[in-house]
Amino acid sequence: MSIKKTSLYGTATAASLALALTACGGSGTGGSATGGSYDKGATVNIGSLYEPQNLDNTAGGGQGVTEALNGNVYEGLFKLTDDGKVDKLLARDYKVSGDGLTYTFTLRDGVKFHSGKALTSQDVKYSLQKVLADDSQSARKSNLEVVKDIATPDARTVKVTLSKKSISFVYNLSYVWIINSQAKNLKTTEDGTGPYKLGRWTRGSALGLDRYAGYWGDAASNQKVVFHYYKDATALNNALLTNAVDVVTSEQSPDALDQFKSNQNYKVSDGNSTTKLLLAFNDKAKPFTDVKVRQAVSSAIDDKKLLESVWAGYGKLIGSMVPPTDPWYEDLTKVNAYDPAHAKQLLAEAGYAKGFSFTLDTPNYDPHPTAATFIKSQLAKVGITVKINTITPDEWYTKVYKNHDFTATLQEHVNDRDLVWYGNPDFYWGYDNKQVTQWVEQAEEASTTADQTALLKKVNEKTAQDAASDWLYLYPQIVVASSKLSDYPLNGLNSQFYAYDIKKKG
């Protein structure tokens, strides 16, 4: 999963939970083709709020390190595309044994690390072990714990044996960077196989990537990429307005968009994100133990109006935990849709004809306070009194996430494919349905993706009907770029930002 905790300080996001933030979505290409007339020697300046803590994604580098280095400097055996599919990258091919427990990967030929050393199966083994190591802080560690054994029969072949079937294994591998097994000081330097090598990193300010001449694939469409880091959205927008940056990876302030939309020097694109805003009930705490109460609350809140007021028309309504880019997406917005009369009826049936009151633990950063106030006024109309308790990200983590000491809370969950957390009864929201847990387990051990998809669709529908949480809306993914730029990634950019296709007109 992951839950995104942002705070007043941009990089503080990374402070608490960014380690848990993993990539989502892939790289689409944005903008129209430029017709070939672009500057191959261009420097593309990218503005971002997420500075890496260090350059090692198994040692607490945070969200920023994924954004800057994933796919650009480091590559995996597989890569995740923009529509949520998994493509082969450093793996030329792979075979799965009949029992689904052994994966044999053949590596692509002619791949070299930036240090000049050729890629071998030893490096793949080393990289996997690095993610699985005791001191690893990789967010993917728990997903990969099914790995039982890694063998390297020859320099081009890697054979991985799993302790149980895991249909998501290949997908999870798309998050594992293949690193030179002899590399040192990975917190401040790198040795990957990607189209860029690390240029200069000035902490607190900027990180540069330079086109790598020895790249095995198609060379990057630009000479140099510089990520410029800002602490707040205003500074970031100012940088874009003064041409200090060419593109902003993820626009966080809808108020700022008008000035770009009305200016022909900029392009505003509205992609699909995987970030969901949740009103999470504690399903183990009264009165939310009662499914009717949860359904009533979900029906009493006009999500559309909320989205309109927070994001001014951007973003999407979702009726479940599943964004459109997950393979098991279905439009479930009609389940527990806005209907205050029905909500009142459900409350009466549940024995709360006169309503009730509860405390809503609300993280102190946008958009939670706004959403909380909105929810308060909506629920007042059906007789429910909401007490808003504003807390810091730290308190949220300890009180809500660790100690499950809450009745209801607001939180944003950023990852793709995180529906499966409803299969874990020990998760903070306490949703406990044996059938759902079983479906989630079966889905992971499914033999085909079709089976997996079918099972997770069931989970999707069941949790929606049960109003396990109230999924308020899906965040928009807004990229604002100079109109000189084309072919930049559009979707699911919470963590990844493939920069190698970006073309800049001279």
Binding site: A14, D134, G204, G208, N238, A239, D394
Partner: protein
């Protein structure tokens, strides 16, 4: 003089030691657990305990403190909990931004405030003297972030003359760019700082203008300029120097606001991030370096005052000159 210096030095060391205890303890009293930053969501209690162990936050406070002091003694500012990178080099690289920013702002503020304050006092009965007083009063009331935003809107966004923020990635190896990006922040700080300085210079000058010794000097045939230069300036500069030192110190510490408005990678923004992340080694290092700087500024101000006003030498060093 040597005895005096020695005493000041001892005072400096004791202050620094006291400050280090206070900031070490205060930081630990903050709510929140740095181990949160090191473990992923879903971490088991064992993993959290392991994280605490790896950064040493599970050890008794006195032990952590002596460990930190030991590192300091070796010139090591510690290792960040969050990035696990050494803090020292980062502090140094950020001083490259904060020190020029603060000093330039200070010099500019003095260049504005000293003549303006003098004019405001000497010509207080003219319209421009009154205007200067009024403007400085207004300047004191303006929040620094607001002034920053206005300057950005006017000179960066509209006119496009200067960058709206940021610092060149290559730092001072591109001097022109580095200077360009510091112009607006320097002006922002200098304007706010000079507003309060003008008040001080004005009242110090007024004291001198009404003093007996100036009248006596004039009566003995000295021209106003000469009397002011020989007696007035010296007398009025003593209190002003104290104020200057305080202003310089508070600017160094207060740069955090300006650095965040202008997205500058300085010491202030490092401190803000460190606090938000419970990254104790970072916060300790920044505060320690700042404390040292403030103490040194105070020391320097004292020395300058003694050079300017010989009477102080006698008073402070026990009567011998």
């Amino acid at each position: 003089m040597a005895r005096y210096l020695l005493r000041r030095l001892a005072f400096l060391v004791v202050s620094l030691a006291l400050a280090s205890v206070v900031l070490f303890v205060l930081l630990r009293l903050l709510p929140g657990d740095p181990a949160n930053a090191l473990t992923s969501v879903g971490a088991s209690p064992e993993q959290i305990a392991a994280a605490r162990h790896s950064i040493g936050s599970d050890r008794p406070l006195p032990e952590q403190f002596t460990h930190w002091l030991g590192q300091l003694a070796h010139g090591d500012l510690g290792t960040s909990f969050v990035s696990s990178l050494p803090v020292g080099p980062e502090v140094t690289s950020r001083l490259d931004v904060t020190v020029p920013l603060t000093l330039a702002a200070f010099v500019l503020a003095v260049l504005i405030a000293v003549p303006a304050g003098f004019v405001a006092a000497y010509k207080r009965r003219t319209w421009y003297g009154a205007l200067l007083s009024a403007v400085s009063q207004l300047g004191i009331a303006i929040p620094v972030f607001w002034l920053g935003m206005i300057l950005i809107a006017v000179f960066a966004l509209n006119a496009g003359w200067l960058p709206a923020g940021g610092f060149p990635p290559d730092g001072w190896s591109e001097p022109a760019e580095a200077i360009r990006s510091l112009v607006l922040p320097v002006v922002t700080i200098a304007l706010v700082m000079s507003a309060s300085l003008i008040r001080y210079v004005r009242s110090a000058t007024l004291d001198v203008l009404g003093s007996d010794y100036l009248r006596t000097a004039r009566a003995l045939g000295s021209s106003f300029g000469r009397a002011m230069w020989r007696h007035g300036l010296r007398n009025s500069s003593v209190p002003v120097i104290s104020v200057l030192a305080i202003e310089l110190a508070s600017t160094l510490l207060g740069a955090v606001v300006v650095e965040s408005v202008y997205a500058l990678p300085g010491l202030g923004s490092m401190l803000a991030t460190g606090i938000a992340q419970h990254d104790y080694p970072v916060v300790q290092a920044v505060l320690f370096v700042s404390t040292l700087a403030v103490l040194l500024i105070g020391f320097a101000a004292d020395l300058v005052q003694r050079v300017v006003d010989p009477r102080l030498r006698g008073r402070l060093s026990g009567g011998t000159r």
